[in-house]
Each structure stands twice: as C-alpha cells, then as structure tokens.
Symmetry: C2
Subunit: 608 residues, 2 copies
C-alpha cells in the first residue's frame, strides 16, 4: 500500500493496532478531521453561477428518477410507497448530506435499486402471507441495515472500497443502465395495461421524444455551434427545457389531450400516502419476523456499501480536478442514520445515486473549449486543421447546490407544487429512465471494449492501450463482466432480486484473486484501473493498494523498475507521452455517460 | 463560354447558325452520337456485384416514395390515381430510360411534385365543376406538356441548364426536402382521421423508428465498426432491412396487431384503379378545356425542365468520378414521349427523381476507406493520429441496374406481389418521406451555411472559403434562397401550387443578373458554384459558361490572370492547395444528403 501523506494509514502497523475492527471510529475521526477545515469554504465557494446551474440540473436529475421509481414501487407494493414518501426521503437525504456529509458532491436520493429491493421484499411478504405486516417488517430491515452500517463505518470497512476497479464498477454501471432501460419500457407498457392503447402508443412517442430532446441538448457542448455560453446554458437546462416542453405537449387540445394519458398521481401534501401516522409502529412486529429481517438488512447494507460508495467514487472520479478531500467512513455512518430515520418513518431508504452522482460534479465543473491547431500533411502540402478540445479547468466544490436542491424538494412537497407535478405525464418518466440508463450504457467501459473489438484496427490511434492486448483476452475480460451483469439482471426479475449485491460484490475478489492468474500485468493495466486513484480520495481509504498482478510479477522477479509508477495501478501500458494521451482518454471514456464521455466515443468510432 | 473539346458548341457561331431554335435537333443529334458508342459497355460493365446492390437499393428508394406519393395523390384526387397507375408509370419510365436514355444513371419515376401538381389540378377542376372531366383534362395537360417537351428538346433549350448554380439547386433541394417532411407528417395525421387515435400514435412510433433504422444503417460506412464489407452491406440494404422489419413489427400479435393501422390499399392487378379502360378518351374533352390545359401543360414542362434536368445534374454531380458523357437534350425528348404515353393512359407523369437520383450513382460508386495518418504536436511530443478518409474510386456506369429495377417493378404489379404490398403499413411511407426529405435537408448548402453562421469561427479550418465572406453577405445570400423556398412551400399549400416552378426558375436570372451586382466575385466564388462542372456533363450543354461576376470584374479590368481557372466558375476563392481541399469538401458538402455528405457535416460541426 502506498502512502498518500495522510495520517490515516494502516501501513507499518503491527499487532492489534493493525486490526481495523479493533480501532473503531479511526476512519471516521480522520474523515472529520480532514474535511472540517474546508467547511467554511464549502459555503463561501458556492456563491457562483455554476452552483445555480448545478442546483437546477440536480433538482431535475434527482427528482424525476425518484418520482419514476416511486411509480414503480407504488405499483409493486400495493401503494405503500407514494409520492410524499419519495419526496420526504429525498429531502431528508439532501439536507443531512449537504450539511453534515464529508462528501457534499455525492447526491443521495431514491435509486432504482432500493425500489427493486423494497418491492421484492413486498413480494416475499406476500408469499409469506404477511403483506399486512409489510410496514413494520421493512422498518426492521432498515433498522438492521442502519445497525450494520454503523458497524461497518466504525469498523473502518469502507477502506476495502479502494480495491474496486473499473472491472466491477463498469459491470455495476452497465447493470444499473440496463435496469433503468427495462424500467422505462415497463413504464410505457403499463400505460397499455392501466390505460388505453392510444395512451400507450402516445406514451412511447413522448418518451422517445423526451429522450431525444435531453440527449440532443446535452450533446450541444460537443459541437461548435453557437457560443460556449449558449451551448452550456442549453445543456445545463436540458431537463427543465424538455420537461416543460413535453409536459405542455400532452396538454395540447385535440388528439393529444383526448388520449388522456396517465398523469403522476398525487395525494394530500405532507401526509403519508396510506392512512397512517408517519411513525411506523415497528415494535409491534412479532419477534420471529424481526430476526427474519436481519439477513435482509445485511443484504441492504451490502447493496448500499457498494452502491453508495461507488457513487461517491464516481462523483470524485479521476477525471475531475478535485482539491477537497473525501470521507467515506463518516458518510457511511451518516447513511446508517438516514436509513434508520427513513426506516421508522416508512420511507424508501435514500442512498448515493448511480449514475446521477457524477452528473452533479460534472455540472459543477468549469469546462473550457481549447483550440487545438495541428498541421496535416496532404500530399506534401501542410494543411491547417482546427479541433476543439474540452478541458476541465476546475470544480466548484461546495455544499450549497446540494442544500438548495434539498430545499427545492421540500418546496415541491407543498400543496401547490404537488398540483404542478400532477400535470406531468407518467411517460415522461420513461423518458427519464431512457436518458439516465442510456447514459450509463453508452459511455460504459464494457461498451467501449465491445466497440473496440468490432472496429477496424487500422484506423485506431496507436496510443490505444487495448491494441496491446490479444483479442481473445479482451473477450474473456468482458465475458466475465457480462456474466456478472447478466446474472444480476436475470436475478432482478425474480424474487431472488435482493441477492444481486452479492453477485456484484463477488466480482471484486474475482478480480483480485483469480484474474491476476488469467491475464498478464500489462493486459490488466490496459483493460482495467482502480476506480479511485486521486490522492484526495484515497486518503480516506487508507492509501492506494498495490495491484495483485503487480505483486505477483514482482514476486516472480519480472517487474522492471521503469514501470514503477505504472505498475502501481495506472491504466496505461505505454510510454510517458502515451500516458498523457491515456489520461485524456480516461476523461473521455469513463462510465458515467456524461457529455464528455459521449464526445470521446463519438470521436473514436466515427473517425472520419 | 469555354470549350470542352466537344463538337457540340455554340461558340464562334454567327448569324442564323448561332440561334438555337433555328437548328432543331442539333443537341439531340450530338447527344446520341456522343453516347451511342458507350452502349455496349453500358451493358457489359453492369455485370458486377455493385450493380446488384444498387438495383435492390433503387428498387426500394424508387418504389417506396412512389407508393407514398400515390397514397397522397389518391387521397386528393378522389381515388383516380391508384397503386396500379403508380407502378405502371414507374415501370414505363424505368424501361424506357434504362434502354433508350442517354443518362441511364438518372432514375425516372413518380415524384412528390407531380403528385402535388396532379392533385392541385384536381382541386382546380373541382372548383370549375369539371371533376368528372378530370381524366380527359389531365390527359390534355400531359399532351401539351409532351409537345412543349419536344419543342424544348429540338430547340436545344436544355443548354440553359448550364446556368444552374448551387444557389437555385440548393433552394430546390431544400424545397423538395421540406415538402417531403410535410407529406410525412400529413400521412401520419391522416391515420388519426381515417383510422383511430391508437393507429395514429402507433404510426408515429413506427414512422420515427423506420426513419432512425434507415438513417443509422446508412451512416454505418462513416464509422470504423465492423469490416468495410459488412458496413457497406448493411448500408446497401438499409431500406429492405428496415422495411421488412417494421412491416413484420406491425403484425405482431397483441396491442400492435389490435391497433390495426392502415395498410396499403391495393386493387386488381393490371387494371386501372377506377373502372375504366387504360386509354383515356381524351378526344372527348370540350375544346375550351383543351386550351385551358395548354398553360398548365407549359407549367408542367417548366417543372420537368428544372426537376428532371437537375436530377440528371445531381446524378452526375461533380463529386462522382464519371467517365461516360451526358445527354440532356435526348433525355428530355424521351421525357416528352413518356409524358405523352403516361398522359393518354391516365398515369401520373414520371420524371427524374430529386433527391433520389444521386442515390443511384452513389450506390454504384466503389468507395474505398483510406487510412490517413497524421502527427499531432502535443506539448512538444508527436502523437500519431489515424483518420479514415472515404474516397470515391470509380462509378459502375451502366444500364442494367436501372433496367432490372424496372423489371422488378413490373413484377410487383402482379397479383401475388400486390398482396405482399398490402401487408405494408401506410405509416412506413411516412418514414420513407422522413428519410428522403431529411437527406435533402441535412446535407443542403443552405443548412451548411446556417450552421456555419452559428458556429464558433475559431474552430473552423482556415481553408473554409466562407471565412472570406462577410457575415451579412452570407445572411443576404441565404435569405434570398430562403425567400424562394418559403414562397414555394407556401404556394404549394394553395391552389396556386402549379405555379411554384416559376418561382424556382426565377432564381436563375436573379442569380445571373442581380446577384453579381450585390456580391463581389470572390464572395460568390466562396458561396456558390455551377451545379454541373464536369466536362463529360457540360459537353451536352454546349460547354461551361462564364460566370457573370467574372465578366463584370473583367470588364472593370479588376481580374488578375492568376485567378483565371478559378474565375471560370470554380467555387474556390483560395490558393491551389486550398482548392484541392475545397474539392474534397465539395464531395462532403453537396446537396443530395448522401452518406458522404453526412460524414462531411458531422466532421465540420462536431469538431472534437
């Protein structure tokens, strides 16, 4: 393990001092100590226009999927989780994490996976004929999850997040993207069942057009059309523009209005959807079921351990020029607290949003369009070529956007704004699923490798590291990922859905134990990299780990010194200038499906 | 006027010999003389795979829009023009022009404009309360059109086609593209009126998906995915693939089949749609109406004069490396003949297809993907960059594809295949309108100039000739075009629609008389160019004309000798290497909306 210069390290420790569980709270202590000095600047730095743009964008990017998942949950839990529960949970998470979190960039809210979890538990409860005990049962699941969260955070277990490489985080991103696309299709199909075929087909039209609108607007900064300010403006407000336009569209008189497609159902403001008080009487649950809830609570913690921390990792990914330090242990402790509160109030549990979390950092990043002039040799004549490069200059790291977005969600919980929400057609949420899901698929490392395999190699820039890997080994690598994704997607359609975090997490030991024996160090360096590799992030995780394939090669005596830096986990297998190139590509090729990632793929696969 | 080395020229002729009308048939004579020696090679050269691919593609690209226009015409002429008439007219034109035409690359068939013309005449007839005389009346319009075609071709009037610049042909292409898009929307709206809202919304879905499918497949050759052979294969068969898939789609059991969207209506094979014999009893029309038909026939000739010849020009455009000579006079004579035959048989008159004609040449072109390696300076380090350039190597110039396509259409007229056509949903044709119409808009010179105006200039390659023109002058130039397009589109929605050819043709004198006084020679050279400038094409038109702005500048004594070649009508205002560059751009930026044009625009406006 390398040092990051941070006092939080387990290196050179021996005896009982080296056991993480025996020194409870050490990670949390250093997290707070490291981050607290930045608190004032987290507020002060927020007073810029970027913060405002990011607030608006995140309000939509957080709220719309949350409402979409709520629809899905509501359908599958016999209406237990309604819109008020979703808004309350989102607001709670936003207020807690923006004020107390060590990583205010990580947006916390309602994800598709908690929806999947909650309704799978409902299906299990139904099978056990305890559907009437569902509120108390799910409360206990949340309580157990909270307790195990606290154990994990006091036990410094978030340190193991440093072992996550793109191998598993890409597989997870792909899994989430596919689930989102499925949810989008399910939402439109439900229109056929719950309403008329007319409404169904119209939903398909609106959902596709919504998707195309947001996609086109978010792609604008890649082009050279208009000025940089206008491009950025339209991209920043892509969601509000598309949402307002297409909501208006379905209310146009004539066949559109007559189709009478389903709108978002709302209930009385500030009250639970079901006729109950906010506090769930969890203490009335028979003891037998309390203990049945324990393993499910642990599975929930496994899910959040991976999901929440990966969303923090991607929100602080290597291509964002971040300066302020991370704090995984403290945030996971907070997540236990919000899980507890949400649990006993009968809310869906909020956690870090994948794939939306990095969108927050992205919208807080000041990008600059740089002119790149090259000279091309055209039959002996030098022809000047101009290209636009997008450079991330700095990130407005602060808490205000997260906090104000939370206030916005609280505002949305009031009566008048609920009425506005009621005008929104449900198919819009299918469009949201498509935008967010496709974003996670399009820029994914698996997609990139598949495209690379399909592409004609002679047109690929020689700096591409995958060129150094045998075709069959790339196929083997992504086959393992696809297998993990396939199993997870398949299990998600069954009552075993709550077990999928086990599959995803199992990819980590697969990567660390078996794969170094299946691939060479160079191959792994070209195909995989640590998901977190910035010092400010690794400080909270106890420093950068040594990759197992590097240790293996060193033990065999095959590692040359010149590869020292690279061997420590960089994704490059090439020379120094190649690495600079690769660093750029990293920016282009990460798995969050942002504009900049899209740009990269366009560039690579429509090379003409 | 410059010489092309061809004996057909009017240069240096004086006295009566210089009057075109006094030497009837001179152009036709030379057309035949020039082209006849190639006849055997036109057959022999056809025995290649490219011919087969082009035949399949053109069968769909010709047939589908023809059927689409027939639907439109049928709706608006109370069912007089049915599917059998459309197929018959297409087959007639294909057989005549593939065997006897001097320009077998120019596909002749049913266009949107003849549909517009025919139903506008029907509306006029209705207003005059002679709707029952419509068959005889339209026959007389066709007869007059045939006669004026013959006068024009014997009088060598096609020579004036050499004055057509991109100024008017781009405006015309844009006009046609917009009309197609409107027709596509009208076709889907008709589903709402003639069927149910369910069918209507489903039509929108299928039409949009069909459009996306064909577009994506045709874009494949621009990418570096798969091998060149597979890319080309999928692009060649984009229409059959999309047509078969989406036709199957609407027959899937469940909500799709239950929606019961409208299918293509067919009638008994080989019989006219109306209960009548094939021959129209045109001699029974009262003499008064015979003469009313005369001016309308002249307008029809004006339309065809422009439309047919422009489609020949674009099918033989400057970016196709053609070797075989053109023959405008002879083909226009033939067009008179087919107009006459179609007219007395009560068929819609076929003429050259805009914008599909160049698709034929395009699909007969052997493109080669060339690897272009450049070295880019990246902070003092040289980084190798690889790019794909698409080069048109040669065109398989022959008659077989056109002829076999014609046989295919005759085959489609038989009973069993009519049944197959009946399974096709009408909304597919809306999709066809969108594909073809958008193709004509996306790559259009007007679109290009608008995008240029919107783009950030610092990222534009300095070789771009538009950089040398003042912004307000570009705006003035395209404003004149947009005015022409706007008027034409507006008039097309009224009963004055038959007058629109006058507007389009009026753009030519505007360009030749007024515009040289509004813009400098350099500006016009950067913004405009002769639509035809290959020697093999200009030979049939009596040679290359001198641009009026060049003459004007020479008369003022301002023209330097060095600009000689350029002054003769090339689109360049820059140095020699710039010109080579420009020639490439011409390939990329022409107005037929082909793959290669799309490639160019992508490249220019997503420069990243």
């Amino acid at each position: 393990m390398e040092e990051t210069g941070d006092p939080y390290t387990w290196k050179d420790l021996t005896g009982w001092k080296s056991y993480r569980m025996l020194r409870p709270g050490r990670g949390m202590y250093y997290d707070v100590k490291r981050r607290l000095p930045w608190y004032w600047s987290d507020i002060k730095d927020g007073f810029t226009y970027r913060t405002f743009a990011a607030t608006v964008r995140m309000y939509f990017v957080n709220l719309l999927p949350a409402l979409a998942f709520q629809l899905d949950m509501s359908r599958n839990t016999n209406g237990y989780f309604g819109i008020n529960e979703a808004l309350f949970a989102s607001a709670l998470a936003a207020v807690v994490f923006s004020t107390l979190g060590a990583q205010p960039l990580t947006i916390v809210g309602i994800t598709g996976l908690i929806s999947l979890f909650n309704y799978t538990i409902y299906h299990i409860a139904e099978k056990q004929h305890i559907a009437d005990l569902y509120p108390e049962f799910i409360a206990w699941v949340s309580i157990w999850a909270a307790i195990t969260h606290w154990i994990a955070s006091f036990g410094n277990l978030c340190d193991y997040m440093r072992f996550i490489t793109d191998f598993s985080s890409n597989a997870f991103g792909m899994y989430v993207g596919i689930i989102y696309m499925i949810k989008g299709v399910e939402e439109t199909i439900d229109q056929f069942n719950s309403s008329t075929a007319t409404a169904g087909f119209m939903s398909v039209v609106v959902a596709l057009c919504y998707w195309a609108t947001v996609y086109a607007l978010e792609m604008l900064p890649v082009t050279i059309i208009f000025t940089p300010a206008i491009r950025k403006l339209l991209a920043d407000y892509a969601y509000p523009i598309a949402t307002i336009f297409w909501t208006g569209f379905v209310h146009i008189n004539g066949p559109l209005k007559r189709a009478n497609i389903l709108k978002l159902p709302v209930t009385r403001a500030f009250y639970p959807t079901e006729p109950r008080g906010w506090l769930v009487h969890f203490w009335t649950l028979p003891v037998k079921w309390v203990f049945v809830a324990l393993p499910i609570g642990i599975l929930m913690t496994l899910l959040f351990y991976y999901d929440h921390n990966v969303s923090s990792l991607t929100a602080q990914a290597k291509h964002f020029p971040l300066k302020k330090p991370a704090g995984f242990h403290w945030d996971f402790f907070l997540l236990g607290c919000t899980s507890f509160i949400a649990g006993i109030l009968g809310l869906p549990l909020p956690n870090g949003l994948v794939p939306q979390a990095p969108v927050h950092t992205d919208s807080l990043t000041e990008y600059k369009d740089k002119l790149n002039i090259t000279h091309e040799d055209d039959h002996g004549e030098s022809v000047e070529r101009r290209r636009k490069d997008i450079v991330a200059e700095h990130v407005v790291e602060q808490r205000l956007s997260h906090f104000i977005m939370g206030l916005g969600i609280i505002g949305t919980m009031t009566g008048p704004l609920l009425v506005v929400l009621h005008t929104m057609p449900r198919c819009l949420f299918a469009g949201v699923f498509f935008v967010v899901g496709w974003g996670s698929i399009e820029g994914n490392g698996i997609t990139k490798k598949i495209l690379f395999l399909c592409s004609e190699k002679r047109f690929v820039d020689p700096a591409e590291p995958l060129l150094g890997v045998q075709k069959k080994n790339i196929i083997l690598f992504i086959s393992l990922q696809i297998l993990g994704v396939g199993f997870s997607v398949a299990i998600s359609q069954t009552i075993g859905a709550i077990g999928f975090p086990v599959i995803i997490i199992a990819l980590i030991p697969l990567r660390w134990v078996l794969m170094p024996r299946m691939f060479t160090r160079r191959e792994l360096a070209a195909m995989d990299a640590l998901t977190a590799d910035a010092d400010v992030v690794l400080a909270s995780l106890g420093g950068k780990p040594e990759m197992p394939e590097v240790r293996l090669e060193r033990e065999r005596g095959g590692l040359r010194d010149v590869d020292g830096e690279e061997a420590a986990g960089s994704s490059s297998g090439v020379s120094e200038e190649g690495k600079e190139e690769l660093r750029k590509r990293d920016v282009e090729g990460d798995n969050e499906g942002q504009r900049i990632a899209k740009r990269g793929d366009r560039d690579l696969y429509t090379r003409a």
